[in-house]
Symmetry: C2
Subunit: 170 residues, 2 copies
DNA sequence: TATGACATGTAACTAGTTACATGATTCA
DNA sequence: TGAATCATGTAACTAGTTACATGTCATA
């Protein structure tokens, strides 16, 4: 149950409405987690019921701005420090590679080439994020940069691997 | 819906029972996808109803050995070649990094160190798989090796990144 | 005044997890 | 004969997706 913790983490950085959080998912955090609008509003409701967040301001158009409570902060820290971070790996694109024996070598190379392209696009997008975000001295910026660097290394790895893999298919 | 395709892909390599497939998930494919026993048997039932697999032999203890049908092979190829492989990224361990500002620098370093350890364990496990599997000339072996190489590169990247990240925290 | 961004919610579905339940076969 | 492994299934739950539904506010 990580959406819950993503929401708590974002609200620990700064309060915001469901709409705000959705933007933040799309923008900075989209690389490592995503959520649909529907799921997000549902989770906000549950977190409020559980006393982990509370409405601290209301705005126009029914806007409800949430902030994290002490209970919520406690839950966030518990998750960060005491819950085993290992999770079931789930990579659809790598899963496909296993089964490329079911198509022709040319088609297999084509698939791997697409994987390489996707990695390149990702690198490009991350470079844009890097230059467009104004990195201040906040914790959010600091750890955000660590995650960004991870994304860059990951994309580069994937690109190199895809090129290598294409060469392996005679 | 990738479990369905994982099952089709495995049965395209060779027929097997639910129990067999479960072993294969744990063993070779665990790095990129996993499934619970419960989910697997459910999916086998649905695939049989859909005419994508069929029971081709029965054994002791109610064992049902499935094989893929032409309809199933068609579905597998469709998925491999025509379905956009991009999927929502979902990395719980990286998500946590975003929020390390909510704990002390020491605790943050501790978390990153754990990530590095996990990567090292993974490298070790993959090395064991590499030496224990008998890599023949089959397609399954060939593409399996590509995936294994990906895992090795991924783990090495993660380990290096974790070491770098720890150094960033003053 | 109409368009686009802001803003929230619900219903119905698919995917995945955890726990329970049962029984057969092998082999030490 | 007892333990490990083989083997399948169901029930109840949580997580995530897609589609629908509604309305407000700013501004061009």
């Amino acid at each position: 149950m990580s959406l819950r913790h993503a929401v708590l983490g974002m609200l620990a950085d700064e309060p915001g409405s469901g709409y705000d959080l959705l933007k933040r998912f799309e923008r900075a955090m989209g690389n490592v987690w995503s959520a649909t609008q529907s799921q997000l509003y549902g989770e906000l409701g549950k977190l409020e019921t559980a006393g982990m967040i509370r409405v601290h301001a209301e705005g126009p158009r029914g806007r409800k701005e949430y902030e994290i409570t002490d209970t919520g902060l406690e839950e966030l820290r518990h998750w960060l420090l005491e819950v085993d971070p290992r999770s079931a790996p789930r990579s659809g694109s790598l899963l496909r590679v296993y089964f490329l024996g079911s198509v022709s070598p040319d088609q297999a190379r084509g698939y791997l080439a697409t994987m390489g392209e996707v990695a390149k696009e990702r690198e490009k997008r991350l470079a844009e994020v890097e230059s467009s975000v104004d990195w201040d001295e906040s914790n959010e910026s600091f750890y955000g940069r660590l995650v960004l660097e991870w994304g860059k290394r990951y994309s580069a790895m994937q690109r190199d691997w895809a090129e290598w893999a294409i060469d392996q298919i005679k």
